[in-house]
């Protein structure tokens, strides 16, 4: 108990010191992209929450990249760290408990690549909203109920382009609303409560697009919506993808949504990436037992299945994670001899397809013989 408190105190202090620092020299946060075609590269990102119960390793060594102009889907169940990853990228973690404790988030800015994890607060404010914007799950809570839609949109525009005049602004607002499929006259004078859920989500998307961002983070953008409205919004997002030149980081628990939207897929489990690859890799040749289990446990329309496959057990407690593979206890392929050791490293199955599992590698090497056990 005492140790936890002492550690927390130390980390809070460190956090506050870093926050207060002015004039951080550029050399500290300027980096090199590993691949200039990427917009963001997560490199061994570690985001921990220092709580009274102990350190929660919400994101524990996550590595993946977002290529320019592509859509990347991040899938996982609640508590797997997918939202925390995106919040780390936006530097919107709840301080002082939540901190980026290690690793790099390299972001390919126009001028020079920077490491988001170390960027000073001032520069981050410039990047946030302007270059990277976010769409949240609840459209109701991300709009301010006392301002009209037009006001809220133009406020964002003003914040990021101070010299825009009023007429241009109005035009831009209408253009944005048209972009998200709202063409009704006078809509910019209406208040959020006058709009339905789907409309609100469109407005939220318009707000995210307001400053021509280079990366849009969509955190469960359709979860709160009805099926038919979800179809509308997905359709809209897919069309927008072609119209705007931005990458999309789509966070969701719904495999169907990912399959439809994403070019690349990252599967997360308990704060780690367990599998990543192109959508085809993941959906046609899932390698990690967790990915396989996830897919098998969802009934698919117009497909007859006897009994649903269910992954036994529960997600492990995020405090005091074991050193072996986190999925070992729920895995049907688990073998104490192999899986009881260190956490498995990422293994390349193909150029794009990576998986963190000892048994998968074996399966590939032995040509699937391992299944016989």
């Amino acid at each position: 108990m005492k140790e936890i408190k002492a550690l927390n105190k130390k980390m809070y202090k460190k956090f506050n010191q870093e926050k207060k620092r002015n004039n951080v020299p550029e050399s500290e946060y300027v980096t090199e992209m590993r691949n200039p075609q990427n917009i963001v590269e997560f490199d061994n990102l570690k985001t921990y929450f220092y709580t009274d119960q102990g350190t929660v390793k919400a994101v524990d060594g996550v590595t993946f990249e977002i290529p320019m102009g592509k859509t990347i889907g991040i899938v996982g169940e609640s508590g797997c760290g997918k939202s925390v990853t995106s919040l780390s990228l936006m530097r919107l973690l709840q301080g002082p408990q939540g901190q980026i404790s290690g690793g790099e988030i390299r972001y390919n800015r126009d001028e020079q690549p920077v490491d988001i994890a170390k960027v000073p607060v001032k520069l981050m404010q410039k990047i946030r909203g302007n270059e990277i914007s976010m769409i949240f799950q609840e459209p109701m809570t991300s709009l301010n109920p006392v301002f009209t839609i037009g006001d809220q949109l133009s406020e964002i525009l003003k914040l990021h382009n101070p010299d825009m005049d009023k007429k241009d602004m109005e035009e831009r607002v209408i253009e944005l609303l048209r972009l998200v499929g709202i063409v009704r006259d006078g809509i910019s004078d209406s208040y959020p409560h006058e709009l339905s859920g789907g409309m609100k989500q469109r407005v939220v998307i318009a707000m995210a697009l307001a400053c021509n961002p280079r990366l849009i983070i969509a955190d469960e953008p359709t979860t709160a919506l009805d099926v038919t409205i979800q179809a509308q919004i997905l359709d809209l997002l897919r069309n927008l993808k072609d119209k705007i030149n931005a990458s999309i980081m789509l966070i969701t628990h719904d495999l169907g949504v990912v399959a439809e939207m994403a070019d690349y897929v990252v599967v997360m489990y308990a704060g780690r990436v367990v599998e990543q690859g192109t959508a085809q890799d993941i959906f046609h040749n899932p390698a990690h037992p967790y990915t396989v289990g996830l897919m098998k446990s969802r009934p698919v329309l117009n497909e007859e299945i006897g009994r649903l496959y269910s992954i036994p057990g529960n997600v492990p407690n995020p405090i005091n994670m074991p050193s072996h593979c986190y999925f070992k206890n729920r895995c049907e392929k688990g073998v104490e001899k192999i899986c009881g050791g260190e956490y498995p490293p990422m293994i390349d199955l193909s150029e794009t397809h990576k998986v963190a599992c000892y048994r998968c590698n074996e399966a590939v090497q032995e040509g699937g013989e391992a299944d016989g056990n």
């Binding site: 057990g313 070992k328 206890n329 049907e332 392929k333 688990g334 073998v335 104490e336 899986c339 056990n373």
Partner: protein
């Protein structure tokens, strides 16, 4: 492969069995005692209660014992214990505003009574007063608020209008009126305090009722109440097993806050001369001494101690209330 899962299963079972199981009540207590301010508050209250309950037993002086001084001999004596010494009328006078010394730790007041002893009695009466008023208020408020929330409809309408009417009554003028009436009816000072308790309790239930009603309304809509309804659980059991335990946190927090605020109200009333009257001590009547500018300037020992005592008690109750609220609902903290 099946065995690895069964091994894991065993591990999980053992791990879960070894966990310490806390009831929600125990969790609340654990969280409460993690809050330093709350512990401080609890400590102050315990100290004050001990001071007020045990103090008078130890103190050699009585609550309204008047002390006299024989100017020629310089002897200080109690008028009740040694009445024969009062006979020396020429030299004996009331020992007014005596200095602080080993006999009178905080000196004597303008009536020649021991301030320190009166402070003990004052705390006792003030605490008693606020506890009784809170109990009356809670009983009325919980019953009426609970009925309004649970039954709804017309009953709710009537009770809530009643609450609004009670909200509109200006409290201090009312108390002034009541006090005058009590004097007119010739009610003795020792009975006056009971009347005051009842009247204050009666005029303060509306806030509690409103709060409890709101709480009951939210709990009534919870799915577990619906499940109880669907299971055909009797109304009595629903109220006593589900509704009240779940409404308790709010009630307890409110009660602890009210305990502090009633002490303050009582002092205000006593200060204005409509509350508890001499010879009975209460924190308010003691502070009232400050009305004489001589005392305000020169005899800090007469009014600062009860003032600090008042401050401490009210502060402590608020700390406890805050601590309890955080302990009941840790999510509310931020």
């Amino acid at each position: 492969m099946a065995e690895i899962q069964s091994i894991n299963e065993q591990e999980v079972i053992e791990h879960e069995k070894s966990q310490v199981v806390y009831t929600p009540g125990q969790l609340v207590i654990k969280r409460f005692f993690r809050n330093k301010l709350a512990i401080l508050g609890l400590g102050i209250i315990i100290a004050v209660v001990l001071f007020a309950v045990i103090g008078p037993m130890i103190s050699p002086h009585g609550e309204s014992e008047i002390f006299y001084k024989n100017d020629s001999t310089g002897e200080i004596f109690s008028g009740t214990k040694e009445p024969e010494k009062l006979k020396d009328i020429a030299n004996v006078g009331v020992y007014v505003k005596g200095e602080m010394d080993s006999q009178f730790w905080l000196g004597t007041d303008a009536n020649g009574m021991d301030t320190f002893t009166r402070l003990m009695y004052g705390c006792r009466i003030s605490l008693m007063f606020s506890i009784v008023v809170t109990i009356i208020e809670m009983l009325l408020g919980i019953t009426l608020g609970g009925i309004a929330g649970y039954y709804g409809g017309k009953v709710d309408m009537i009770i809530m209008r009643l609450v609004e009417i009670f909200y509109c009554i200006p409290f201090v003028p009312l108390m002034l009126l009541v006090s005058t009436m009590m004097v007119a009816f010739g009610i003795l000072p020792e009975q006056k305090i009971y009347w005051l308790m009842m009247i204050m309790g009666f005029f303060n239930w509306s806030g509690v009722a409103r709060m409890v009603r709101g709480q009951v309304l939210t709990i009534r809509e919870m799915d577990y109440m619906q499940a109880a309804e669907a299971g055909g659980i009797s109304v009595r059991r629903k109220i006593f097993k589900h509704l009240i335990p779940n409404a308790m946190p709010v009630i307890i927090v409110m009660a602890s806050m009210d305990l502090g605020s009633f002490i303050l109200t009582e002092s205000t009333l006593s200060y204005l001369g409509v509350g508890i009257s001499t010879p009975f001590a209460s924190l308010g009547t003691m502070i009232q001494a400050v009305n004489q500018s001589v005392i305000l300037k020169n005899y800090l020992n007469l009014w600062i101690p009860p003032g600090i005592m008042l401050l401490l008690i009210v502060l402590a109750f608020n700390f406890i209330g805050d601590g309890l609220r955080d302990a009941f609902d840790p999510k509310m903290k931020r």
